[in-house]
């Protein structure tokens, strides 16, 4: 635990694997920038690796004023003991006020380890972060400019705002895809601060025997249009309809957890709380009921079109456009109309005339 330090920096843990930064820290940079500017303090990234490569430059381009770089062979592969040790000593030395991590399996292993050792608070899976004041119930004291850590809980049925006003740093994890990725600016300049790992004598208990990384089969986060299918699609064969519609729109294919569990489509395509969070320009939900856990991953889409036989399905409450009908009828019609360019022009004309 460190004392409250109002001049403390805003830190972001720069998770990386084999010299490649993960998406989350890059996404977190624009939010971090906003928080740091509000507090008038620097934004810093903390990078632990066996070799820094061009990662510090990428972090600066994404908005960091400073990058703390700790290079050590023993940091080449993540494990809680070594990473936790390094981060705790950096925190004690530099007393940041805010420290954010991606809510990846590594971030959700590392951040609690650090929080436990520092005896500070940690809020999991935040979907938004703001700066604001807090007055504890039954007290007249107002704590100004705290990190408001906003997160869903109870399976997404409530949104809790959590603060930590006395035992700093204020730490939170943020799920991947929740914060929009900012444009990098390679003209930005920033300071690179090299720090020693001081790992001699620190036990690293885990031995990695085998390691498999793979690229996801689909990049949902980068897609402007997503066509997603749910249990209502009925079968894996029938899921071809979803693929066909996606193809003719140049869209990516997503699925609800029910669709994944039923084997219609691979887990990489899952949208939602335990899948990917997306914010495409258009999200077409076909035969998806719109459970809170699904909504958690797609409600920020620019436009939502729901195709469902049930006019009362919760997805309709999220949708901008709705077709109440059987997807087996609707989707082939959509494909036909999109493919016949004439139909489209005609339709566009109709709309323009109306």
């Amino acid at each position: 635990m460190i004392e409250v330090n109002r001049q403390g920096e805003v830190w972001i843990f720069a998770e990386q694997e084999d010299g490649k930064l993960s998406d989350v820290p890059l996404e977190l940079m624009s939010k971090g920038r906003e928080l740091a500017d509000k507090l008038s303090v620097p934004l810093a990234a903390v990078l632990l690796a066996a070799d820094g490569g061009d990662m510090p430059a990428a972090l600066i381009a994404q908005g960091a004023d400073k990058v703390y770089v700790v290079i050590d062979e023993r940091l080449g592969h993540y494990q809680a003991a070594g990473y936790g040790h390094v981060l705790c000593s950096l925190i004690e030395q530099h007393t940041p006020q805010i420290f954010l991590y991606g809510a990846t399996p590594i971030g959700r292993d590392l951040a609690p380890t650090v929080a436990s050792a520092m005896k500070c608070g940690l809020t999991a899976d935040c979907t938004d972060l703001q700066i604001g004041d807090h007055k504890p119930a039954g007290s007249d004291e107002v704590h100004k400019n705290l990190l408001l850590q906003i997160r869903p809980a109870f399976g997404g049925n409530i949104i809790a705002t959590i603060v930590n006003f006395d035992r700093w740093p204020q730490m939170a994890t943020v799920r991947e895809g929740v914060m929009p990725l900012g444009e990098p600016d390679t003209a930005r300049s920033g300071e690179i601060v090299e720090c020693a790992a001081n790992l001699d004598g620190v036990q690293l208990p885990l031995e990695i025997i085998e390691s498999h990384r793979r690229e996801k089969a689909v990049n949902l986060k980068a897609s402007r249009i997503i066509v997603a299918g749910g249990a209502g699609v009925g079968s894996k064969d029938n899921f071809q309809l979803i693929w066909d519609l996606a193809h003719c729109l140049g869209a990516a294919v997503g699925g609800s957890r029910a669709a994944i569990d039923l084997g219609f489509v691979d887990h990489d395509h899952q949208i939602g709380q335990t899948g990917t969070t997306v914010r495409p320009a258009l999200y077409i939900a076909c035969g998806i009921s719109g459970a809170v856990q699904h909504a958690a991953g797609m409600s920020e889409a620019g436009k939502i079109l729901a195709i469902n036989t049930d006019a009362d399905a919760p997805i309709m409450g999220l949708a901008h456009f709705g077709i109440v009908g059987d997807l087996n009828v609707v989707i082939p019609k959509m494909i036909k109309i999109i493919r016949s360019g004439a139909g489209v022009e005609q339709a566009a004309q109709q709309v323009a005339d109306a």
Binding site: G121, R213, I225, G317, F321, G322, I323, A347
Partner: protein
Amino acid sequence: MALNCVVCVKQVPDTKRITGEAMTEEGTVNRRALPAIFNPEDLNALETALTLRAEHGGTVTVVTMGLPSACEVLRDALVRGADRAILITDRRAAASDTLATSYILSCAVKKLEADIVLCGRQAIDGDTAQVGPQLAEKLSLPVISYVEELVGISDGKITAKRNVGNGWEVVTCTLPALLTVMETANTPRPPAARRVMKFKKARAKSEVEAMAADLLEGDYENYTAELKATEVEKYCANLADRGLLIEQWDLDDLEADLTWCGRSGSPTKVHRIQSVVLTGGEYREFAATDDGIAELIGELIHDHTVG
């Protein structure tokens, strides 16, 4: 090598079944309106321990921190095969965040001399997945989180496959160690009918106290406090003889430092709670006909969303 496994289990509201009625007007969850269940991934943690005991011998102890009603999950664990069940219950532990929860659990685990501590990866109410790694840090144990498959134990070393998001890795470490187990790790065995009959009578002391009125014959109101206490002790001793006593510990039994428990031990404070109301129903409906769909697609093109 016989293994002493300690499994941390939590009773949780069944968040999958939250409906309007379970939400209070202030937007908080009325836990009583929801069925309380065994946290799903804790069943996978328990199954891992039972499998290890079958292979290596040893014991399986389940621990929960919660209200006396959490004995329900302890009974379930006994029915499924646990050897020993411990309830940690204390008013001073109320409002614990994950840091305080892991501190209190660490005091309990220290008394149990575990070779392996097993947690579920995540509880479905708090949803943080923080308690496992924090408990490991407090106990200075190596942690293997997000375990998808237990490969095995040999020569005092445990090997497991863990999920790292964009892939997996197989890691090994020397025991003692702490694992957090995912639902994909195994399929929990169903309770054995014979044990259901036996362990449905298992009780913790606080439950016995709550039943004291029924235990004592006659004019309960006129019993002295002392006599009530003696009766409770007698009943508990009898349960213990039959292997049906759920042990009950409070923070004094754990020799816990109260500054790190409950509210004072919890740096995170709730600033505000709101319920999620899916807004609206204000969508534009298009007919499922050729014309309706053509109009919709025209609209999307007009918007530059498509095309």
